[in-house]
């Protein structure tokens, strides 16, 4: 089956359309949405197996030869991202049953999530730069739906900013694609790589490379383009925040990694140096923000920005260790951010506030929650053997190998800031004098806690079982290191 790689895009799309037909039947919405995600997850597992055994999967739609039709490409990196995104969506949907509320559920909440996953999976899979723009639009439009859904005052206030920034970034995206098309006359990413190599990346291509970095950087929230993110993300309810936080910036990061390894590779002294400097500044800005707030949501949101910096630092080093570390860290961050957002969601549900200074002593009443949170926090900070460690180790190693001593040491120091920011939540919320709370009902608590625990457990396995992951990660990194593999899979032949 050559079009297997389309299923992770089409399945959620198809089910989302079905869900639009009976928005008010909540039970049916829940069942169909979960079924769709389980199916998607299953298909993606099969796809993963296929990519592992048969190599990169590629198809050009409408039976047009590449580069004239739209190519869809599933290499190891993209299938891993699709898999983890689908997993997050599945657990978030489960979590939503007990948290999002019937009103939202009957107003296209689940179709919104499925549409967003369509866009996310599409963006990870496409091999065509304009088609990537289209999938960006799909995921952005669904995210607009999700962010305004409910129409609370704060939500609306932040949504307008979110939409404004993203509309601008979409416009910039189209403009940049137009520039690129004007110079090299093609949209297929493999073909772009070939053509840029033919003309040896002249200055104008480097300018376009920088513009792409900025376009994707707006999505991925790098310095100096992250400013819109913190307050916009804090507005929607927790499950939506978890989805956004775990997935949306990663699409931008993926796009940077893809374009900067596949075709903008001939002037690394300029482009990748700039990427490295921006990612270091991103880390610093993220650390400052993560330490600045007593609002649990804000703390974790700023940690997204730090992680983006760390991953891109790895990507900018362009050696095997660092790229593999980046892939390791990228997937880790999807899992752990999802887990942390769900966990702080539980904390907020219990205490009724997101202000740390109004919390305390939860460890007595909710010990399991406390320990789970602590493990997740250590995982985020990269304490071995948890999930963040291997990725960070490899990134640091790659940084040293590339001769960037200070940058690598800064990555290590950023771990300290990350640790401080998340351990502060533990100390304030779980330690200290007990603050009066209205306990949740057992059923409600379980509905919130279980998805979070499962996600933390997966992330722990991800760290401890790194050995089983290495073959996958090294496949993913090898495509990033050798664009020829990708090009061959798409264009065929030599």
């Amino acid at each position: 089956m050559i079009n297997l790689l389309l299923f992770p895009i089409l399945l959620p799309f198809f089910f989302a359309m079905i869900l639009m037909l009976f928005p008010k039947k909540i039970l049916a919405q829940r069942t169909v949405a979960s079924t769709a995600l389980v199916l998607t997850f299953g298909v993606t597992l099969v796809l993963l197996y296929k990519v592992k055994t048969n190599g990169i999967q590629a198809i050009t739609l409408g039976s047009w030869p590449a580069p004239f039709g739209i190519s869809m490409v599933s290499d190891m990196l993209s299938v891993l991202l699709v898999l983890s995104s689908t997993l997050i969506a599945l657990l978030v949907v489960w979590y939503s049953f007990s948290s999002i509320g019937k009103d939202r559920e009957s107003f296209f909440y689940y179709p919104g999530i499925l549409f967003m996953l369509t866009g996310v999976n599409g963006a990870f899979t496409t091999g065509d730069i304009f088609n990537m723009f289209v999938f960006f639009e799909v995921l952005l439009m669904s995210s607009y739906l999700l962010i305004v859904l409910g129409g609370e005052k704060g939500q609306l206030r932040e949504s307008i900013k979110y939409i404004l920034v993203n509309v601008i970034s979409s416009a910039l995206f189209v403009v940049t694609v137009a520039y690129l098309y004007s110079v090299i006359g093609t949209l297929n990413m493999a073909d772009i790589s070939v053509k840029i190599a033919q003309i040896d990346q002249p200055g104008i291509i480097t300018v376009i490379a920088v513009l792409f970095l900025l376009v994707f950087g707006l999505k991925g929230a790098i310095f100096p383009l992250y400013f819109w993110l913190p307050s916009s993300y804090a507005a929607p309810p927790i499950p939506v925040l978890a989805l956004f936080g775990a997935l949306l910036t990663k699409v931008g990061v993926y796009a940077i990694m893809r374009t900067y390894t596949l075709f903008f590779t001939l002037d690394q002294g300029f482009t990748h140096e700039m990427l490295m400097i921006l990612s270091i500044l991103t880390i610093i800005a993220g650390c400052i923000g993560a330490l600045a707030y007593f609002d649990v949501k804000k703390i974790i949101i700023y940690n997204i920005i730090i992680a983006v910096g760390v991953i891109l630092f790895g990507a900018s080093q362009m050696n095997e260790a660092a790229l593999m570390g980046s892939v390791f860290y990228l997937i880790h961050d999807i899992l752990i951010k999802g887990a942390l957002f769900l966990l702080i969601g539980v904390i907020i549900a219990i205490t009724g506030t997101s202000d740390l200074r109004k919390m305390g002593g939860l460890i007595k009443t909710y010990p399991m929650l406390g320990w789970t949170y602590l493990i997740a926090a250590f995982g985020l900070a990269g304490i071995p053997p948890l999930s963040g460690f291997i990725g960070k180790l490899l990134i640091v190693q790659g940084g040293f190998e590339a001769g960037n001593l200070w940058g690598s040491i800064l990555i290590l120091l950023s771990s300290l800031a990350v640790l401080l920011s998340v351990i502060r939540i533990f100390i304030y919320a779980f330690w200290g004098e007990t603050v009066e709370i209205k306990p949740l009902t057992r059923q409600h608590y379980r509905g919130l806690f279980m998805p979070a625990v499962i996600l933390v457990a997966i992330s722990v396995l991800y760290g401890v079982g790194s050995e089983w992951l290495v073959p996958y990660m090294s496949d993913a990194a090898s495509v990033l290191l050798e664009p020829a593999l990708y090009i061959k899979a798409v264009l065929g032949g030599a």
Partner: protein, 806 residues
């Protein structure tokens, strides 16, 4: 034998503890826990006889073989000595804790889980040959220490101390990891033994000193060396058994272990010798000097520990000198490492017992404040005896083990001035002087600790509890340690041969192959040499100063409070909380217009500078059509419309101007032969102007924010910048069509293969039909959003109620 799994026995036991605690409430959980270190201790003693002969053992399991990451347990003299310390002192501490911690009032399961975790971590640190697993266990010790210090998590000081210790030690750990990674790149292995084997080549590498300093940061933070020691006094908030175990006998010695273990790699560097010896000596002095400022019994012991750790550190540094002098030369440096290890053992015995006594005093009187204590000798005679033994040993008096190692220490420091490399021959004289002064202070605080507590006037009204002797169970552990203090003095060479020499071989493999090569015999009496005179001086001056302590102790309060290291830490933490908050609020204004200004500025600067640096600007008129007169007019209308939007005072004018702009763009499409686009544009313009006019009624009055000139100028600048950038890049991209476009393929195939006439339509529905499908989907999603936005309006209040309904 797969003894690598021994390391994990405590961790596995920790899994069972919570159940035992819940199910068997009648028996103190500590009794079950006690079995773990006792069994491990006896298991490790079986290695003694072989290790004594210089044998070593390895056992490992692979964690991530693809990346060469494994957990390897390597047992040689050094790691065995530490393993015995960890399990031996561990057993005594657990025994002590059974009587110290009340089984009904305390959360014992938490306590013992943390303690067992720590045991695994610590065994792992000292046995790991693989640097990554060493780092893993290293961080685990920091974490378990964090949890143990924060054990009484409701107390502010506990939480503060827990966080402080974790921040400082994890910082060191991360730096150490950096050093490890550098080493592994240089030596192409993570195995410490293999690195030692290739040590001579490593020395020439440009990163050698980097890795050295990074690793020392790890060692110095963990072993509470200057200036990182500040976490240790605050760590005293932990229950006393923890202080005795982690913060005196074992965890804080991990840094010493690290220095000892890496000596064979780094000894060749003068950085190593200077830093380890110098910082060690500074810490020795600093700790002993400020110990006398303390009024909390555990505070005194904490500073004393800092100081003693510095002493051992400086000896390890002096020991590294032997790398340069070699074995033939009859220098004292080859004894320094021996003295370091010997003192490490002695320190564990006397300091362990003293901590336990401090705990007993606290437990039985309700306070550790030395100003409230006094005259406890008659009430607590056994405790007093043990305290006396411990303190005299710490002060370096015979007949206790501290005397022996102190003499060796003085010998080592005296000989540094004879070393004629790295400028030691000029500065070396300072070393014995500082060592001597520090020893005087050590003498004073030892006396201060024991006599202020047990002699003098009893002040029962100041004590929260009626003082009495501790239960016998609590006295067992300190008594055992106390008797070791005495015993070692009389049979030092047994300890020397069995424990110390095999460890020294591990530190100085360049001098010795097997422990028998070490010809060191510990003697209490060396005749009237300079060390003896120094000791006599210490006793005389020390006693004199102790007797007059009350006269000069207040001087400590004269030190400026603003410049202490603690203040520095507090300031950093303050900056990390409040400082970052203020900074963030400065630029995170909450207004999208500020963010847009930042973002556009960034975009413009980065893009324009790239254009200039890469000389990408190019403009060619070759392929352009001539500009016709009416095109110019439409362009002028466009510009005028745009300016009107910006400057209009009323919203209505702006909307109309916006429409004019849109229609002129549509006109351009008409002129340039793109009727489809022109139609689309016209429809969109019409609809959006109509919609705007519909919404117009509901909009608030036009209110231009921030009419200040500066603000508007800034915005204008950014806006013009964006426009110019987009134009420049567009012109350049248009002028550099370097590769022929793929569009010729569409021209060729549109009739024959796609079967369509209009190439644009065929692209939309066939060549790129996939795009169109999802563009349509975008519209559908947008409509869902609009329906939801119109129909669903939740308020916060309703939200809360709804959640409670569930």
């Amino acid at each position: 034998m797969s003894f690598v799994y021994f390391i994990f026995i405590p961790m596995l036991a920790a899994l069972v503890i919570p159940f035992l605690y819940k199910k068997v409430r009648g028996i103190h959980t500590g009794w079950f826990v006690l079995a773990v270190p006792v069994i491990l201790f006896s298991l490790y003693t079986t290695f003694l006889s072989k290790v004594k002969n210089g044998e070593s053992f390895t056992s490992s399991f692979e964690w991530i073989p693809s990346l060469n990451i494994s957990v390897t347990s390597y047992i040689d003299g050094l790691s065995l000595l530490f393993s015995l310390l960890i399990t031996g002192i561990g057993s005594l501490v657990v025994l002590y804790s059974i009587f110290y911690l009340d089984k009904t009032r305390e959360q014992l399961h938490n306590f013992y889980v943390y303690l067992l975790l720590f045991m695994t971590a610590m065994l792992g640190v000292v046995q790991s040959d693989h640097m990554i697993s060493l780092y893993f266990f290293w961080e685990l010790t920091s974490i378990s220490s964090f949890l143990l210090i924060g054990y009484w998590y409701k107390r502010d000081r506990s939480r503060f101390g827990a966080l402080k210790s974790m921040m400082i030690t994890v910082f060191g750990g991360l730096m150490m990891l950096g050093g490890f990674v550098l080493l592994s790149i240089m030596g192409d292995t993570y195995s410490i033994r293999e690195l030692i084997a290739s040590a001579p080549e490593l020395g020439n590498h440009e990163w050698f000193v980097w890795s050295l300093i990074l690793i020392l940061l790890g060692a110095f933070t963990k072993s509470a060396q200057f200036p990182f020691y500040i976490w240790l006094p605050d760590a005293m908030e932990a229950p006393t058994p923890v202080s005795a175990y982690l913060h005196s006998a074992t965890m804080v010695k991990a840094g010493l272990y690290l220095v000892a273990r890496f000596t064979p790699i780094f000894a060749s560097s003068e950085w190593w010798i200077w830093l380890v010896t110098g910082i060690g000596l500074l810490t020795l002095f600093w700790g002993s000097f400020f110990a006398l400022k303390q009024t909390d019994l555990k505070g005194i012991l904490a500073f004393s520990t800092v100081s003693q750790l510095g002493l051992i550190m400086s000896l390890l540094g002096a020991g590294a000198i032997s790398f340069h002098t070699g074995i033939e030369e009859d220098s004292i440096f080859k004894y320094a490492a021996f003295a370091a290890i010997f003192h490490l053992v002695n320190h564990a015995t006397f300091k362990g017992s003293l901590f336990m006594i401090a705990g007993i005093v606290d437990h039985e009187t309700g306070t550790r404040d030395i100003r409230k204590l006094g005259g406890l000798m008659s009430m607590m005679p056994i405790s007093f005896t043990i305290a006396l033994i411990g303190s005299f040993s710490m002060a370096g008096l015979p007949p206790f083990n501290g005397f022996l190692s102190k003499e060796m220490f003085l010998t080592g420091m005296l000989s540094i001035q004879d070393f004629n490399l790295f400028a030691f021959d000029t500065w070396g004289i300072l070393f014995p002087i500082i060592a001597w002064i520090a020893s005087v202070f050590t003498f004073i605080y030892s006396f201060y600790f024991v006599f202020r507590t047990f002699t003098g006037k009893h002040k029962p009204d100041l004590l929260p509890k009626q003082a009495h002797e501790a239960p016998i169970g609590m006295l067992i552990s300190p008594a055992i340690l106390g008797s070791l203090v005495v015993a070692i003095f009389f049979i030092p060479n047994v300890i020397g041969d069995v424990l110390v020499k095999p460890a020294v071989v591990a530190i100085q493999p360049y001098l010795y192959d097997v422990p028998e090569d070490i010809h060191i015999h510990i003697k209490a009496w060396h005749g009237p040499n300079i060390e003896l005179w120094m000791t006599i001086g210490i006793v005389l001056l020390g006693y004199l100063l102790y007797a007059t302590l009350s006269k000069w102790q207040p001087l400590y309060n004269k030190f400026p409070q603003g410049f202490t290291l603690n203040r520095l830490y507090d300031t950093m933490m303050f900056l990390s909380e409040v400082g970052t908050n203020r900074l963030t609020r400065f630029y995170m204004t909450g207004f999208i217009r500020s963010y847009l200004v930042y973002m556009f500025t960034g975009i413009v600067l980065l893009t324009i500078s790239t254009v200039f640096i890469k000389e990408a600007f190019d403009i060619s008129f070759a392929t352009l059509a001539p500009i016709r007169f009416y095109e110019l007019i439409i362009a002028l209308v466009l510009i005028a419309g745009t300016l009107t939007i910006l400057l209009a005072k009323s919203r209505l004018t702006s909307i109309i101007a916006l429409g004019a702009v849109g229609y002129s763009v549509a006109l351009f499409f008409v002129i340039f032969n793109a009727p489809d686009l022109a139609l689309t544009q016209l429809v969109i313009e019409t609809v959006s102007v109509a919609l705007f006019l519909l919404a117009f009624y509901h909009l608030p009055k036009l209110n231009r924010h921030e009419n200040r000139m500066k603000f508007r100028l800034g915005n204008a600048l950014v806006a013009i910048g964006v426009g110019v950038t987009v134009t420049i890049v567009a012109l350049s991209a248009h002028s550099q069509k370097l590769v022929p476009s793929i569009s010729s393929y569409y021209e060729k195939t549109v009739y024959k293969e796609a079967g369509g006439g209009n190439i644009v339509n065929v692209i939309l529905v066939d060549y790129r039909g996939f795009d169109t499908l999802f563009e349509i989907a975008v519209l559908a999603i947008a409509s869902l959003g609009i329906i939801a936005l119109i129909q669903l309006r939740l308020t916060k209040k309703k939200e809360v109620n709804r959640i409670e309904d569930k």
